[in-house]
Structure formats: C-alpha cells, structure tokens
Amino acid sequence: MNILVPLKRVPDYAVKAKLSPDSQSVVTDGVKWIVNPFDEIAVEEAVRIKEKRPDTEIVVVSIGPSSTTEQVRTALAMGADRAILVTTDGAVDSDLAHRVLAEIVARGDYRLVIMGKQAIDSDASQTGPLLASRLNWPQATFASKLEIDDTWTSATVTREVDGGLETVQIQLPGVVTTDLRLNEPRYPSLPGIVKAKKQPLEEIPLASLGIESAPKLKIHQFAYPPQRKAGTKVSSVEELVAKLQNDAKVL
C-alpha cells in the first residue's frame, strides 16, 4: 500500500525571522532550510509503518524551488522510497499546496496521506484539512497515535485536542496530520544518506500540472510584535510577593 507524505521546507526554527527593510517580506536569503518538524514526524511515522509492513511504499512530495531537493533527500535518507518535487520559484500558500497535493494524489493510488499539522513558518494549519475536503476524504488531525488495521481499511487515531485525548476511527483513504508526540524522528543514517542520493526523485514543473490558483490572501505588511522590556530581577521570594502585590497588583 502507498503512503504519501507531503513536506514543506521551512527556515530553521532556531533562527529568528527577519523582515526586509520595506516590511514587505520575510528575508529568506541565506537562511538555513530544514524539513518542517511536523512533516519530519510524518516521514518517521510512515517509515515505522513500512518497517512493520514491508509491502508499503512511501512517496514524499514537496513544492518549491529546485534546491528543495536537499530537504526531500533528507526524507529519502530517513527511509522513504521515492520522491516527487513540484518545482516553482513562486510563493506557495495553503491554497496552492492543497491543490497540487490533490493532483499528486489523483496520479497515484494512496491509502494514506500523512503530513504535519502545521508549518512552523506560516503557522496556518490549513493544508491537511483543505486537502481532505478537496478529496472528500475523512481526516484525523493532531495525531499522537496511529494504528492502521491489517487490511488498510481503517485507521484508529488518537488526537491531541482541547481538554484531553480523543480517539477516532477513520476509513481509508484518509488524511492524518501529526502532532509533536506521535514519535521522535530518527536521524538519517550514513548508509541512508548515501542511498538517498540514488533514489528516484521526479521533478515536475508546477506549470505542467495545469492548476489554477490565485492567492486568496494578500499580505499588505509585516511587522515585528511589540517587544517586551526585560523587567527587574528580584532577590527573594518576599521581594517578589511585594512587587506582585504593590507594583503589578496581581495578587
């Protein structure tokens, strides 16, 4: 059975985002790109499924400039079988991404799409449910546990939701999005990295897919949030309580 793992490359989370002088864009020149951490968890989960069921094929797909091959190869080195890179130098928002992914799904025979619950740059949390809706598939977002039955008919998914953990059963094909505690992604092994260089990676120009998508969101301006000023250090519990009572008046 085939699993599709969409992944997005994002700027390294350890690096603070920087705006262009005119505040019209976030500077990405020279940033270090990584696989979106939630998508990395999705790759890991797919690899774990394959380890239990060797007849699984894992296809990773990304959308972006040709240099995104680096992040795609990371997923191959972790254990994915082959990769598709839909190439574009333009902006890719959730709307365009889910349309492209729907087209890729239509060209294959996938029982499961598993991807991150959100990308840590745009923080929109839309692509998974958008894709599920476009395909008219069921979905289970924010997964912290995933079990697929023997016949790939259904998946039982534990979801991290407000107030606790919810378990749902969805029929496959379906879309699952990953939360932090689904697994801990492995580091690619050296043999994996060597092998990944030879694994199939198909590049498809975005224009050749014939997808019409005009941006639905126009960003007028970026800004930094107001900075908090560092306050004062207190030297004792007594002083802290006094400040909270008399200055901040929160006690």
Binding site: G163, T167, L217
Partner: protein, 324 residues
C-alpha cells in the same frame, strides 16, 4: 456588505470562553468592516438549543442552530457538511470561528467548500477589511486581506476579551438533514482530569518546565502554587515531552496560547516556541536557576534561584498574602 456567520462552539448546554471571545471578535468585524449583521450558528447534539438561547444574549442579530443525535460527537466530516448547509442559509460574506482544536480541525474544510481564503488564528481586526495574524511562532505579524467573495477567519481566543451580555435576539432551529457518515467514528475521549481553571480562560497561569525533573516533583511543586493562586497549570513542551504533564497543558506555538494577567514560569528556559504561547501575558514572573535563560528577557520579575527551594516558599507566601 453582507453578513457575518459565526460558528459558536458549544459543549452541551455550555459555551466555553473561547466562544465568547469569538462572539466579541465577530461583533468587532461587523463594526470595523461595515457588515450588516452577525448570525450565530450552533450545531451539535443534546443541549445545543439551550446553548443557542444562551448565545442569543450577547448582541447578535440572529442565532440559528442544528440539533441532531448524529452530531452528539464532534467529527470533522459531519460537522463540516452540516455547518456548510447551515451557513448556506445565511449566505455570509465572512465566516468566523475560534481557533480551538475544533476550529483548527474543520474550518479549513469550510474554506474549501466555499472556495474561500482563510486567515488563521487572527489576533486583531484592522480597518480596511484587514486582519492581523502571527506567523513564525509569533515573531512576525502579518496584516492580511482575504480577496475571495467569502472569507473564513479563525480568531485566537486569548487575543479577544469575552463578549458581554447585550440585547437578546431571535433563535431559530434549522431543519438540516444530517447525512449518515460511516467514514468517521468517534471511539472515546480521555479527558484530562482537572479541577483547576481552564488554561485558556484563567487569569493566572503557573507553568513548569523540564527543570522540574519528574512528574512527581512537577506535581509537588507546581500544583500547590497554582492552587494557592487559584491558577491554571501549564507546561513547556520539554516538560510535556518528558511526561511530567499532560499534552493538554502545553503552552506554546503548537500548544495553547495564553494571555493571563499573571504568568509564572517555573524552571522554563524560554525557547522561542514557548514564548510564542505566553509573551502577551500582562505580568510575567520567571523563576530559573540559570540567570542567562532567555525567559528573563520577557519577564517583568525574575528570580534567579533553585526552584525546589523557592517555589514552596512562594506557595506559603501567597497563602499568607491571600489570608489562606
């Protein structure tokens, strides 16, 4: 300029605080962007009619609800289909909801069904039809305009105060045929037992980090302080990953975003993704052994000390100050 359809999440008969924040945001959108009215929409099982009557007391123009035994449990497919049908009756220009775990889960499906652009997790309504939303773990704010005929907007509950009661409006039940949907089934809900205030609703939050060292010591130190303050309990991702606290307590970019009057961070270093979840708190206290910890850069009051020593002292001092 058309109307605003507001999805109001209900918990049986109850409206969570996040719904009251969404109500306030929807009324603000109506005023700031010149819409004619706000129509509240509730969908669910038992208790939804009572919740609809409650929602009708906050200055909306009309409240519609769908109550069906098929909607007893929240499931994305069923709720998206039902909300689509209910909202069709309104023909709105804007569809608004709170970005709770449910709103995050199924509002994108609504956006897809209406071919609408969605602005997620908005923290402010701006003039000129724009919205402000955080990106990059809150390190960047974007002012966005949604250019589609129908707009979908989810709002961050902690960024909007709760709506207050104002004139009562009409409540109408919608007879929507809820389709049988065998492809998604509810199995169970394991609720985090919590006698304390809800994290997203509390005026004071006490959070613990990895420095608490174990689930046992987390409970021994954080919970008594929280209880002395009448506070909700939060945790850093590191503390949750290490199993010291349940996932529902995580504060951060990918957990809950809170903005209480007082936030006390205990043994939390202050990673970017944690700061994203609490830096809009009014007063921040940090207790950490490491004087270089980034949490001190956002704290109003910092105490460099061994938490195992000072947290019990602080608990006692708070009890004394509050006459407990």
């Amino acid at each position: 300029m058309g109307s605003v359809a507001l999805y109001i999440e209900n918990n049986g008969e109850k409206l969570p605080k996040s719904s009251l924040s969404a109500l306030a945001a929807a009324l603000e959108i109506k005023q700031a962007h010149g819409h004619e009215k706000v129509i509240g929409v509730l969908i669910g099982g038992t208790g939804t009619s009572a919740a609809a009557n409650e929602a009708a007391q906050y200055g909306l123009d009309e409240v519609l609800y769908v109550q069906s035994s098929a909607l007893e449990q929240y499931l994305a497919l069923q709720y998206a289909e039902t909300l689509k049908l209910a909202v069709d009756a309104v023909q709105p220009a804007v569809i608004v909801a709170a970005s709770t775990s449910r709103g995050k889960d199924f509002l994108p499906r609504i956006a897809q069904l209406f071919d609408a652009g969605q602005a997620s997790d908005c923290t402010a309504i701006l003039p000129g039809g724009k919205y402000r939303r955080p990106m990059y773990a809150g390190n960047v704010l974007a002012d966005v305009e949604i250019t589609t005929a129908v707009q979908v907007v989810t709002i961050r509950p902690s960024a909007f105060g709760a709506a207050s009661k104002a004139g009562t409006c009409a409540v109408r039940e919608l007879a929507v045929h809820v389709l049988e949907e065998p492809r998604m089934k509810f199995v169970r809900f394991d609720q985090v037992k919590n006698e304390r205030p809800e994290l997203g609703e509390a005026e004071i939050v006490v959070s613990g980090g990895r420095a608490l060292k174990s689930a046992e010591t987390f409970q021994q130190h954080i919970l008594p302080l929280a209880d002395a303050l009448g506070a909700a309990v939060g945790a850093s991702r590191a503390a949750v990953d290490s199993g010291y606290a349940p996932n529902d307590w995580q504060v951060g970019q990918t957990g809950k975003v809170v903005a209480p009057k007082l936030y006390i961070a205990v043994g939390i270093s202050g990673a970017i993704q944690h700061l994203a979840g609490m830096k809009d708190s009014k007063t921040i206290v940090a207790i950490n052994k490491d004087s270089e910890a980034p949490i001190f850069e956002v704290a109003d009051y910092g105490l460099v000390a061994d938490l195992f020593e000072v947290v019990p002292q602080l608990t006692e001092a708070v009890k004394k100050a509050r006459g407990q």
